[in-house]
Symmetry: C2
Subunit: 498 residues, 2 copies
């Protein structure tokens, strides 16, 4: 073995050891959100803080830094190896800015904040969450300063989730969308009223579960390399590409809730199962970015999962699971109902159009919080005002308002915008898939989504972090992010809802 | 704060950080045995090996060693603090003997071995397990040499599970038991034949689960500080005294399997929930020894859970869960059936008497394997021969023979003897409890086991590792381990089975 190959192996072993600790922490987090008994929360918080601190210690080991610098200057690595080294060096240099104590403090503040949020939701009172969130926001501001930024301090946090994205870019995107989305919303209001009350009949838990498990397998999720469990707030996580954990929730009086949570999460899960297993613990074994991750879930949830063809195949299957509630509902009414466009209070239940107003509201609040232009105490007031302004809805209480999302309690500031970006990428990728896969929509309408999955594996999954979102988008579609594809998609969708 | 108090706090923080990593590893292990998808096994093995190595690194940190030496010589600690320091120093000096590489190698060998054992059981062929077990046995022999011992090398491994126990002591115990147990077995053979076939009717999964969950709660298990899940091989683990995980298994054609697994595991679980929470991560927050742990499970499983009084209360409850299969079975026939004494193949399903022949066989094989007097390849032959000799049964295949227990695949050599010791302690403790709790058996017969639990909390649980098994036994009963109590218990039991 030559010197460079030997160095690369040392680097690989070190990176994989760091990944082992991070994935172990992800197991603890998964357990916390699925199975942890309530009194176990305190010890779990310190256990997770300790693993965070240890992972940080390994990630900032001076020897690793020297190794990365030497490898980064070395000849003889292939393209993927070069990229791994380059990204690991970037990660190293970022991690190096933080002290172990800061990392531990952040992890503990997040745990405290998460439990305060749970309690605040129980009491339906933002004030119960406020002190913990204030502490966390203070730490996030420090994090921005430690990381450094150009322009707006929120840019530092945005970059943690989506490299290269800035306030300026997002302001432009959302500004350019507000008017056309508003116009489409007006157009949607002209659609005939559809009676979707059947979605709120009684759909028994066990049948929903069986149906969801059936569906995720039909869509290609490998249950030998993953599983699905129940969580209050559905999410997907993985501990390797061979161990991907979906979660979902069941509301017996709301059919849509679990079904689209399953299709959404399985989109994330299929991405993670498609990451190259031989790159375990290395950048090219990780997802490209949050917006690309979200593009996968949105593509399955919306482009496929809310399409006419999809339900041409699946609606008869669905009726075998729920013969009674769906007895008098034909597939077109079903299709209209699951695509009903209507301003509402809850982001995760929003339609594809108004969804982006929900995101924009959170984005603008986060920006002001991090810059210090508004304080945590102001959140409920601003929230309610913006919901009135953008969506015309009156927020009746905090639980249906600013306490609805888990993200802030996790310290995830800068995360929400990737949801919109992901939707836009999804529309653009799906458009490309239709061009490249002959008869794609026909395939979907007979329940064959395997070619679509293979196309995504090939176009997106196999590369891991090899390309940035923008690079990947260019490679796949020949152009950078172009919101026009999403607007076209939406406009066409509305035309089919008549 | 004075200097000693400050040192003690430093020690406490370091010990708790080590515990965080060990408990995190226990979460990964729990997940491996309950929910892990099959393809996730390889990555999980390296993740667990990495955490083992990190825990070992923290446990052997030179600064911790110096701190412990200084504290051990310091004045001003209370009795429990002194004991914590003393035991941590012992643990430190033991851990120091191992290299991180050895710890990692052992962890990996155990994972490989575990999966080989699973596969060997599938194929019903010990030879599939043999190569992995040979590697592991070689490592266990090295472990014995690294630890050092007097007399038999197996003593080193026994000490890992039960401080102070030796081959000489166990040889004496088992030798002294063989004849009287044989005589009792003869006596039991004179009992009238009891028809226990009703235990093998169809007992639906869900009802068994509900009944088991009901039972563990009735016995005092706090479901806010723990939970129960399904595992192929029932076990109990904990991640703090506030997060205790029981597991069980359900056989729809064997009622006894799950019920006594629940009562056994809840005995372990109640012990762990009773450990002092403010001693998290310190020796006095851990269990005293494996035999004391087993004394708790056996006391609930047998002294309480196979007693007449227990079922006077619970049998009518049980009949509400399974009205059909138990319709024509009266409580005395039920009692006789669940106490039927009959030589059999499977240890975990053995009665209270023949159980100890199963343990003795494993003990004698382990001893010879570690000393090198017999080889791994010899195991099936010796196993089958000994089952014929001690129990008079013919072992039809490896799955019902030497592949039945998970322990060797976990590298747990020296563990089995604690099962017998635990049974003997259980009988002795229960005898004492009857003396100290007026009307204990009467209480049990009306479903009140809370006073018994409180007695155990007070006599055993609260102390953690403060006392060795032998010290604790003397403190509770006024004498050291005395097998006569167990023999009396068994003899009396046989008299009630007529």
């Amino acid at each position: 073995m030559n010197h460079t190959a030997s160095l690369y192996n040392q680097y690989k072993a070190a990176a994989q050891k760091i990944a082992d600790v991070k994935y172990a922490n992800a197991v603890l987090q998964w357990d916390q959100e699925t199975y942890l008994p309530s009194k176990g929360a305190a010890a779990r918080a310190t256990q997770m803080a300790t693993l965070s601190e240890l992972a940080h210690g390994l990630s900032t080991d001076k020897k690793l830094g020297e190794l990365l610098l030497e490898l980064n200057a070395a000849e003889g690595l292939n393209e993927r190896e070069k990229k791994n080294v380059q990204l690991s060096l970037e990660d190293y240099q970022k991690q190096e800015k933080f002290s172990g104590a800061f990392v531990r403090q952040m992890s503990e503040a997040i745990s405290t904040s998460f439990h305060a949020w749970i309690e605040a939701r129980k009491q339906n009172d933002f004030k119960v969450f406020q002190p913990a969130l204030e502490t966390l926001v203070q730490l996030k501001k420090e994090e921005a300063e430690i990381l450094g930024y150009q322009g707006h301090p929120y840019n530092a946090l945005l970059n943690e989730y989506e490299k290269g994205v800035t306030v300026q870019l997002l302001d432009n995107v959302f500004a350019s969308l507000t008017q056309p989305l508003g116009e489409l919303l007006e157009k949607a209001k002209q659609l005939p009223m559809v009676d979707d009350s059947f979605l709120h009949q009684y759909f028994p838990k066990q049948q929903q579960w069986d149906w969801g498990m059936d569906l995720i397998q039909q869509l290609g999720f490998d249950l030998e390399a993953g599983r699905q469990d129940i969580a209050e707030h559905p999410f997907t996580t993985n501990f390797s590409s061979q161990d991907v954990r979906l979660t979902t929730r069941i509301d017996e009086n709301d059919f849509a809730n679990m079904t689209w949570s399953c299709i959404h999460e399985v989109g994330h899960g299929l991405y993670e199962q498609g990451l190259p297993d031989d790159q375990y613990g290395l950048p090219c074994g990780e997802y490209a970015s949050l917006s690309i991750h979200e593009s996968q879930s949105r593509l399955w949830e919306n482009s496929a999962g809310r399409s006419k063809g999809f339900w041409q195949h699946y609606y008869p299957v669905l009726q075998t699971y729920f013969p009674e509630p769906l007895k008098h509902v034909d597939v077109h009414r079903f299709y209209q109902s699951i695509n009903k466009i209507q301003p509402s209070l809850i982001r995760t239940e929003a339609d594809e159009l108004t969804y982006h107003f929900h995101v924009n509201i959170r984005y603008s609040i986060e920006k002001e919080i991090i810059s210090g232009h508004c304080s945590v105490a102001d959140i409920p007031g601003i929230w309610n005002e913006q919901y009135r302004k953008f969506l015309g809805v009156i927020v009746p209480d905090d639980k249906q308002g600013c306490l609805q999302d888990v993200h802030w309690s996790h310290g995830s500031f800068g995360y929400f915008p990737t949801y919109s970006l992901g939707s836009f990428y999804a529309a653009q990728f799906f458009e490309q898939a239709k061009k490249e896969i002959p008869g794609l929509e026909q395939q979907i309408s007979v329940g064959n989504t395997m070619e679509l999955l293979n196309w995504l594996r090939n176009a997106v999954h196999q590369y891991g972090r090899m390309y940035t979102s923008e690079e990947l988008c260019r490679k796949i579609t020949g152009e950078g992010l172009n919101v026009a594809h999403f607007m076209n998609y939406l406009s066409n969708k509305i035309d089919t809802l008549k």
